[in-house]
Subunit: 298 residues, 2 copies
């Protein structure tokens, strides 16, 4: 899953420009000097396989890259597409009145961190006052599936629905990426965010132990969803279409705010509405995200 | 210089295919977690500047990339060119009788290692039996200038002189890359290497302290030269033309061997001739490699 997530994260930059076809991928890998030979021979091929599998799901393939030794494991890559100007969407055309849509719930970082805290008695003592072990496990599973999901289907709908601008939400968090997107707009627009779709129970985790960054829109995400500016009349249809294209609720979109006239920037309203996004349930033998589970599975 | 070397190394893969124009570069950087803030703020911008300067020298520019924290500093990147099949040379057309040419001397790794040993009394006690401190310094300077030199001029001559195949010499050493190149040939050719152009005194260093890998063709290189297969009648002219295009001996080529009929592979003859390549002398204020020094400098 680590490899899948890394690949999804790399491809996401193309998808955020409405490009669904990737011509070529490179994989960049650092193998940890601290792993035993056995660990290395077991773990690294799995990471590589995940990366390649996700590339294949994205209709592309990994043709090269580079591997180095390093104290920490690093996995990343490069996705390249050559296309005409009319084949991608320059993310600079938002206008006042546009509706902001987000295509994955937030909270991946919180869910993964909370999962690590299950093994940290000091942290867990605090966390267990607000969530159960099962809720942490479910949030973690949902985060992993979400991070491994390609933004490709959403990307394919960007042009069909006339998106004015889009970006993907990663390390700078929702608000950070919303601000960066706003700063590039040709028109004077302020992105005002009203709603926060969050992986179930991550709001409680963040409030109890995470410093509340998630509720302020500043928690980092890994391989997050696309943040889109859509013409007002298209937003609800876009979300419905995206949902229809996923299986088992694997793809969703939420209207999270409005582009208002104003200085180029982004802000959350005082008390944003938290939309708790339930986990899609334990994955039977972890089928590829968005794919149908094996027959007979619930 | 570190940044320049990294950039030259990245671009070299394009140059080895006879491509001189790079459409786009990405820079990948990891900032060390072990640096103080002061070290980081001083060192990293210099590395970035060197990388960008070398890209500019190569007629291209860095338009993106990624920066992470990591225990070790890492600098690298990606170079992309989109071109027609007739605009690059598939490295698979060597024929028996071709002459092998190398465009940078070997020994970068040995020179850098020896330079580190100046501060290691145990190593230096052994090394100083065969070389002086000044020779180590000169070899190091030459290695740095050589590594920072773009293979672009050589690349521009590949098509003009009808090169049949080329690769760049880096981590696997001369013999490793010669073998990899031989393995891809359409015809049955064995690359037989007779001559080893080495940065002055690195042969002695390698024999005394480096296990002699350099003299067996297996020492790793960083940002090494191009290894070319040229039609026999073109090789000497290629070397002369390359030399004419550099300033102050910044560019050179050496005939190092022959493509013989035989199984696809590469080998050194029993006692290869070592060509000691003298350092071009201390660089006055380190002008960019290959560029003219300031007026009045020797």
């Amino acid at each position: 899953m680590m490899g899948r997530i890394a690949c999804a994260n790399v491809l996401s930059d193309l998808y955020a420009m409405g490009v669904t076809e990737c011509d070529n991928m490179l994989m960049l890998l650092s193998v940890s000097t601290k792993m035993t030979e056995e660990e290395r021979d077991k773990v690294m091929p799995l990471i590589v396989k995940g990366f390649k599998d996700a590339a294949e799901d994205g209709g592309t393939s990994v043709t090269g890259g580079h591997t180095v030794l390093n104290p920490w494991i690093i996995i990343g890559g490069v996705a390249t597409t050559v296309c005409q100007p009319n084949e991608f969407i320059m993310p600079d055309s938002a206008v006042p009145g546009d509706v902001l849509v987000l295509t994955k719930p937030l909270g991946t970082h919180m869910a993964v961190t909370a999962h690590q805290w299950l093994d940290n008695p000091e942290r867990w003592d605090k966390l267990k006052l607000v969530v159960t072990r099962e809720e942490v496990e479910a949030a973690y599973q949902e985060a992993v599936l979400s991070m491994a999901t390609l933004n490709r289907t959403a990307a394919g709908l960007l042009r069909a629905f006339g998106a004015h601008a889009a970006t993907d939400v990663t390390g700078f968090g929702l608000l950070g990426h919303a601000r960066a997107l706003a700063a590039r707009q040709r028109h004077h627009v302020t992105f005002v965010i009203h709603n926060l779709p969050l992986i179930a129970r991550t709001a409680a985790m963040s409030a109890a132990c995470g410093g509340g960054r998630l509720l302020r829109g500043t928690a980092p995400e890994t391989s997050g969803g696309l943040l889109l500016c859509l013409p007002r009349e298209q937003a609800a249809r876009f979300c419905a279409e995206l949902r229809a294209r996923g299986r088992q609720g694997a793809l969703q979109g939420w209207i999270i705010g409005i582009a208002e006239p104003g200085p180029r920037g982004a802000r959350l309203i005082e008390r944003p509405r938290v939309i708790e996004v339930p986990a899609r349930g334990p994955a039977p033998d972890s089928p590829a995200p968005g794919e149908a589970p094996p027959e007979g599975a619930s």
